[in-house]
């Protein structure tokens, strides 16, 4: 063929540490201790419980439009747990709840946000996360700038930025990766390839067999990992974080996973997702996989499950109670945090608005 750079004919085999049956791949040393794996499992299960709860609240009109993590927990938790929340940052898209929680965001903040209360957007000081990003891919250059700033100030911090297979088609993805390559910025690009962008299947999103194949075009490595394998994701992310921390620059990680629910609560996936596809992915569930693994190691059984599920359900209820107890949002919040030093015209608008509602 006439070209030096040829596209792959087939997807590569993803890195996998934990097989669907919960056994470790031959020759692999587990990237987490049992304690760490249990901790990861808790975040995954918490998210799943929250998803179910929030979905039912949404159906009753008591929660806004939101996107579940269901099925993708290993991708998010495996990667986030490679970070040191004290110095590292998480830059989310919108489907990364457990990563935000692990960084220290109170669950009730997240709930408030999706209940439509502006106060929910508040990120406590010291919690190293950016706000949820609705404008797809816009967060990616922001993450690069943040990593660049950490590098300039020699904090030792690393940024993990999340985005979907859909978002990876946006120009911002490209501009950000290219800039990060040039700067050798300490950033990990975490592409959650969950097979769909709303109704658009992965194969209509790009003809590339693997999206990680784009990394060499920016001068850094790309890895494909089984996104339903928390140990595998943790391992490649840890390696990428170490690389970044050492000053060797970015990595693009493509985690192959599957969105097991609707795009969000406003979506009807039966219009485009086949039951067959869902059936094929069900046995690959990321939570059950770790449970099998830990069970085989004597660290998981029905008693432990019952205890932990109880704890997590109480945590969700607690957060919900806090969120519900928050003061109802009010008109003054429209004007808060827009400027430090608001224009006089805006102050007048504020006065008029509050007066008219009084």
């Amino acid at each position: 063929m006439f070209a030096q750079f040829m596209p792959d004919r087939d997807p590569v085999t993803p890195v996998q540490h934990l097989a669907p049956d919960g056994t470790l791949t031959d020759g692999v040393v587990a990237s987490m201790s049992d304690e760490e794996a249990l901790d990861a499992l808790r975040w995954m299960m918490l998210t799943r419980i929250f998803d179910t709860k929030a979905m039912s609240l949404q159906r009753q009109g008591r929660f806004g439009t939101f996107s579940q993590v269901t099925g993708q927990e290993a991708t998010i938790v495996g990667s986030a747990s490679a970070l040191d929340p004290a110095i590292d940052w998480v830059v989310p898209q919108y489907r990364e709840l457990p990563a935000l929680l692990r960084q220290g965001l109170p669950l009730e903040q997240f709930m408030l946000y999706f209940m439509g209360n502006p106060a929910g957007g508040q990120i406590p000081e010291g919690v190293n996360v950016l706000p949820i990003q609705i404008s797809l891919a816009a967060q990616i250059p922001q993450a690069v700038g943040l990593a660049w700033g950490l590098q300039l100030q020699q904090t030792g911090g690393v940024v993990v930025v999340y985005f979907g297979d859909g978002a990876s088609s946006e120009g911002d993805f490209h501009e950000a990766c290219n800039l990060a390559g040039v700067l050798k910025a300490p950033v990990v690009f975490m592409l959650s390839n969950n097979g769909w962008a709303i109704s658009t299947p992965r194969h209509k999103q790009s003809r590339a067999k693997n999206l990680a194949a784009r990394a060499p075009g920016y001068g850094f490595p790309g890895v494909v990992v089984d996104g339903n394998d928390v140990l595998g994701v943790h391992s490649v992310t840890s390696a990428a974080v170490a690389r970044a921390r050492a000053g060797d620059g970015p990595t693009l990680i493509e985690a192959i996973t599957y969105r097991m629910g609707p795009h969000n609560t406003a979506d009807d996936p039966t219009r485009y997702v086949s039951e067959g596809d869902l059936a094929a992915w069900r046995p690959l569930d990321p939570i059950e996989r770790v449970q099998r693994y830990l069970a085989a190691r004597g660290r998981w059984d029905d008693t432990i499950r019952a205890r932990i599920e109880g704890e997590l359900a109480r945590e969700v209820d607690r957060a919900l109670a806090v969120a519900r107890a928050a003061p109802a949002p009010n008109a003054a919040q429209i004007f808060e945090h827009v400027y430090v030093d608001p224009p006089a015209t805006l102050c007048r608008q504020r006065g008029a608005r509050l007066e008219s509602l009084a």
């Binding site: 109704s199 979506d267 008109a331 827009v338 608008q349």
Partner: protein
């Protein structure tokens, strides 16, 4: 709607007989179907417009009917959707791209304002741009961040583009058909809150409503309310309240498009009462209301008995759903604006 008779008069189908009750989204879908049926060159493209039929179902059924070569699910990249539409137009087709929400038109802003709008000019007439960009916009239904913004003023400031903003189902169909058949590029903005809430009698036939003609939707004597898109409904409701509770007779004008702007209709509507209130969802500063006020004060200066009032959102970002009703103008706000204007 009292303007219906006038509406039909300005439309291309004089003797339409069959009508059906349609929601705005049905009227839009009907227009797309007719446009595609009548002209093979019309092609629909965008995120999730095919198999899913659009997140609001505006394009539902079109792919089944016209095939996946003419109704195309694109990758997730607004700049490429609009950029590609330009090339499709150059090749001789009539693209009708969809922006899933106007809030994501910003990603394509360079392709819309600088490219689509100027291509005919840059090629000195060689490459026309018969593109109609459809997009839902506006608030009121608690969508997530950035989904509810009303950015019409930004596009109205891009010479070469037309900006059409229907307020009811009849106009949605007739204006969309006119837009698709217009040789100039049109940004066609659909009030997402009205998709299912606003409905009316719509002829099942093919008809167009001419771009650039406003519509008097309520005749009144004391004050003129001026709006476009969903805000027209707000003004009609405010007119009801004003009549019922305040003895005020409000004249309501639906602009239908902001580019072209029907200056004559606007001036006539204002001169009738000598007082005017302009209503829109977008923030006040540099919103399209400013253009309306500036035009009115110049062209109807000597008949104005009070300053023209603007009822708009404040100059802050669109907030989360929990307080959006305190942000986006409500019927009460329009009423208050009118009463203030009458007192001056």
């Amino acid at each position: 709607m009292s303007g219906a008779a006038e509406t039909v008069a300005t439309s291309s189908a004089a003797a339409t007989t069959m009508t059906m009750t349609m929601t705005m989204i049905e009227a839009i879908r009907d227009a797309l179907t007719l446009a595609m049926e009548r002209d093979e060159r019309v092609i629909v493209l965008g995120e999730d417009v095919g198999v899913l039929g659009g997140v609001f179902r505006a394009t539902d059924g079109l792919q089944q009917r016209f095939g996946d070569k003419r109704v195309v699910d694109t990758p997730l990249a607004e700049g490429a959707i609009i950029g590609a539409a330009i090339g499709l137009a150059v090749s001789g087709l009539i693209p009708v791209p969809e922006l899933q929400f106007l809030g994501f038109g910003h990603q394509a802003f360079h392709q819309i304002g600088q490219q689509v709008a100027r291509f005919r000019f840059r090629s000195q007439g060689r490459h026309g741009m018969p593109i109609t960009i459809r997009s839902p916009f506006g608030g009121g239904v608690r969508t997530p961040e950035l989904h509810s913004d009303a950015f019409e003023a930004l596009y109205a400031h891009c010479p070469g583009l037309k900006v059409v903003m229907p307020a009811n189902a009849y106009d949605a169909k007739g204006l969309l058909l006119a837009a698709i058949r217009d040789p100039d590029p049109v940004l066609f903005l659909e009030p997402l809150r009205g998709y299912r809430l606003i409905s009316g009698e719509v002829p099942t036939d093919d008809y167009t409503v001419a771009l650039g003609l406003s519509n008097v939707v309520r005749v009144g004597d004391d004050v003129t309310l001026i709006a476009y898109s969903a805000a027209v409904q707000l003004c009609i409701k405010a007119a009801d309240v004003l009549a019922e509770h305040h003895g005020v007779s409000a004249h309501v004008l639906d602009l239908r498009s902001i580019v072209p702007l029907d200056v004559d209709g606007l001036v006539a509507a204002v001169e009738r009462t000598g007082r005017a209130v302009v209503v829109h969802e977008a923030p006040r500063t540099a919103g399209f209301g400013a253009e309306l006020v500036a035009t009115i004060q110049r062209e109807a200066f000597y008949s104005l008995q009070a300053p023209v009032e603007r009822v708009t959102a404040p100059d802050t970002p669109y907030p989360l759903g929990g307080i959006e009703d305190l942000y986006v103008p409500q019927v009460d706000d329009v009423v208050r604006g009118v009463l203030a204007t009458l007192e001056r």
